[in-house]
Symmetry: C2
Subunit: 231 residues, 2 copies
DNA sequence: GCGCCCAGAATATGATCAAATTTCACCTTG
DNA sequence: CAAGGTGAAATTTGATCATATTCTGGGCGC
């Protein structure tokens, strides 16, 4: 009677994650994470059939996920019908740096006007985990925690459009950042996150914005120098 | 000998348009134009099957175009599987205004450093067409020419990432702008475009950037007031 | 008023068609 | 005679369509 439907129901209680996500959304999230954390190298080709196999998904969801990521700037349509991870030129990095500095410092300013002690504490916990990853030389962990820090911060800004924009910008330089960190390790970062948290606790939005701008500038300069001369 | 392949060569000269565009790209461009120029109203529902009929396309290309436009922020995924044109809140308009002011004034600054007399003349021609549309009360023409002015300008800035960002921002407020213009007409715009062109001819990038920022501020304020109280 | 059933639309799969790249054989040329 | 290039065939990959399945939402009956 009811044997055929029980599988789709997923009888278990799933309060932790989305109980029912479309396949194309899952594929998008997975591909997005792979790009954001540098599992795909700049210039690497991305094929539909390759993803259907590696992700175990059908063709249509993969196509839709790729379209979204192209629109995000995370993937590049190469004119013929090949798709690849973009390679950043130094001019691209300059552009990204300018936009990130304006958007993300504004997001930090707005967030600092709204965050409470609990939210700041969560931010600090992430920053501690980030320090641990740096000490351990854990590149993947560094990338994840660094993204988490900014993402959590922007989520508190009550500015969904700018937060979305910032998210998409991160997708663009994620692969390159991974290359740089893989080459030179994670040391030698005078941490601006401490300044951000400190200025937040003291209730100085302008200081927060300035610290964020410096953090972004440092990050982009790091990418510029790390890729130096190649482009 | 050569009969089988001559067809693929596309013996005709096709310099006017793209000789071969995928269906999903065509659908995307068409839907994009409809949203950008306000043929779809804010809040209006968009169905896949409706578009397959109205655009005469298959289901898969329509799906991909919709995914891209959702990623652009031009369409909105309503959680259940309905898709609609987003309705802007006043907070959204504030965010858009901030981002547009920074991005587009920077684009104008960079463009003014590179544009030659011919390109400036083309810009002025567009602005004259824009004035004609305003005088005639041609709302659709006003929207098209206004977009053309900014788009042409940004194309000269040699900053593809920022130009793409600006393009996507326009998609977000296009429907609302149409509503406002349809309600209050196209009069009462002290034209900042003249100031932009004048400052360009005199080679004053900062003046260009300032004029652009004012133009953007005026436009967004117009939308805010036009939609006033509703949201 | 609550719950079940049905219609309609969206999601997902697989198959089929078309295009592009690659490979390889053959011809030309030094 | 050997080496390089040109052309076509074959393979690989992307694009499109038709179809089945699932889910949402509303209407009807209890």
């Amino acid at each position: 009677m009811s044997m055929t439907k029980t599988v789709a129901q997923s009888g278990q209680t799933d309060p932790d994650e989305g109980p029912k996500l479309p396949a194309h959304e899952i594929v998008y999230q997975q591909l997005r994470a792979q790009i954001l954390f540098g599992e795909l190298a700049p210039g690497q080709a991305v094929t539909i059939q390759g993803l259907t196999e590696s992700l175990g998904a059908g063709m249509t969801p993969v196509r839709e996920a790729i379209r979204r990521l192209i629109s995000d700037g995370a993937l590049m349509f190469q004119g013929n019908r090949r798709v690849s991870v973009p390679v950043l030129s130094s001019a691209d990095i300059d552009e990204l740096g300018f936009v990130r500095k304006t958007i993300e410092s504004e997001l930090a300013r707005r967030a600092s006007l709204r965050m409470n002690a609990v939210q700041i504490a969560r931010l600090e916990a992430i920053d501690i985990a980030l320090d641990r990853a740096i000490s351990a030389g854990d590149v993947a962990g560094y990338l994840v925690q660094n993204y988490s820090f900014h993402s959590e911060l922007y989520a508190c800004a009550n500015a969904p459009i700018m937060a979305d924009l910032a998210d998409r910008l991160w997708l663009r330089f994620g692969p390159s950042l991974r290359v740089v960190c893989g080459r030179f390790g994670t040391q030698s970062f005078p941490d601006r996150h401490k300044d951000i948290i400190e200025a937040m606790r003291r209730g100085e939005p302008e200081k927060v914005a300035q610290a964020m701008e410096k953090d972004v500038a440092q990050g982009m300069e790091q990418v510029t120098q790390g890729l130096g001369g190649a482009n």
